[in-house]
C-alpha cells in the first residue's frame, strides 16, 4: 500500500519549509498546491530527481479473439 509523507518545519517566524516525499510527477504538484491553500504564498520551490520520474501506471492490453 503506497503512502504519502510530508516533513514540515514551521520556523519561529511562521515560515513553512515543506519536504514532499515519495510522490512523483503531477501528484507532487498537487501536494504542493494543497499546502499553498493551507499555509499561504509560495516563496521558493525546488524539485529533486524523483519529481521528474513518471508516475507509476498500470497498462492493460486487450486482445480481441474471434
Amino acid at each position: 500500500m503506497p503512502q504519502r509523507e510530508f516533513e514540515i518545519t514551521i520556523g519561529k517566524t511562521g515560515e513553512v519549509e515543506l519536504h514532499v516525499k515519495g510522490i512523483k510527477g503531477r501528484g507532487c504538484l498537487e501536494a504542493v498546491k494543497m499546502f499553498e491553500q493551507i499555509v499561504g504564498e509560495m516563496k521558493s520551490q525546488e524539485q529533486t530527481g524523483e519529481f521528474y520520474e513518471p508516475e507509476e501506471q498500470v497498462q492493460y492490453r486487450v486482445d480481441q479473439r474471434h
Binding site: G11, L18, I23, V39, E46, F51
Partner: protein
C-alpha cells in the same frame, strides 16, 4: 524526496482563534495575560513610557462583531503588548513599557507577533492535515524554536 518548498504564511482567522493563538504564543515565551486590556493600556501609557505600534503582515482578523472593541493584552517585566484588530481588519499590536527604548520594545513585539503567527500556522496545519486523514507520526520543537512535524497518509 520529490520537492522542497518554502511557504510564507497568510494569516486569516476569526477573533476567537486569533486571541487563542496570542494566549498560546505568549505563554510559551513567559508573558502573562494582563487583567483587562484597556485598563492595562491606560496604566502603562504614563509620562516617560515608550510606545511602539506594529502590525502583522499578510493578516486579516475576521469578526462579525462590528464596532466592538476587541483587544487582548499580555505583559512581562513591565512591558505590555496589546493585540487588536485595526480599522482595515489587519492584526495590530501596541507595545508599551516604562524606561525601555523603542528598539527594545520593537524587538519584543516582533518576537511575540512571530510566535503568534507560528502558533496560528501550527494549529491550522494540525487541523487541516487531520481533516485530510493524515497522522502526525513525529513532532518536536527544535532549539531554535522551530517546530518539525512529520505527517503520513496511507493510500487505499
Amino acid at each position: 524526496m520529490s520537492a522542497v518548498c518554502i511557504l510564507t504564511p497568510v494569516v486569516i482567522m476569526a477573533w476567537p482563534a486569533f486571541s487563542a493563538a496570542v494566549v498560546a504564543a505568549a505563554g510559551s515565551l513567559g508573558w502573562q495575560m494582563a487583567a483587562e486590556a484597556r485598563d492595562q493600556l491606560a496604566a502603562t501609557v504614563q509620562p516617560g513610557s515608550a510606545r511602539v505600534q506594529l502590525e502583522i503582515e499578510r493578516s486579516e482578523v475576521v469578526t462579525n462583531q462590528l464596532g466592538r472593541d476587541q483587544r487582548i493584552a499580555v505583559s512581562r517585566e513591565g512591558v505590555t503588548v496589546t493585540f487588536s484588530r485595526d480599522a482595515r481588519g489587519q492584526a495590530a499590536l501596541c507595545v508599551t513599557g516604562h524606561g525601555q527604548s523603542d528598539e527594545t520594545l520593537r524587538a519584543l513585539g516582533e518576537e511575540l507577533s512571530q510566535a503568534v503567527v507560528q502558533q496560528y500556522v501550527y494549529q491550522k496545519l494540525m487541523d487541516e492535515m487531520r481533516a485530510r486523514g493524515f497522522n502526525v507520526v513525529e513532532e518536536e520543537v527544535n532549539a531554535d524554536r522551530s517546530i518539525r512535524l512529520k505527517v503520513r497518509h496511507w493510500e487505499n
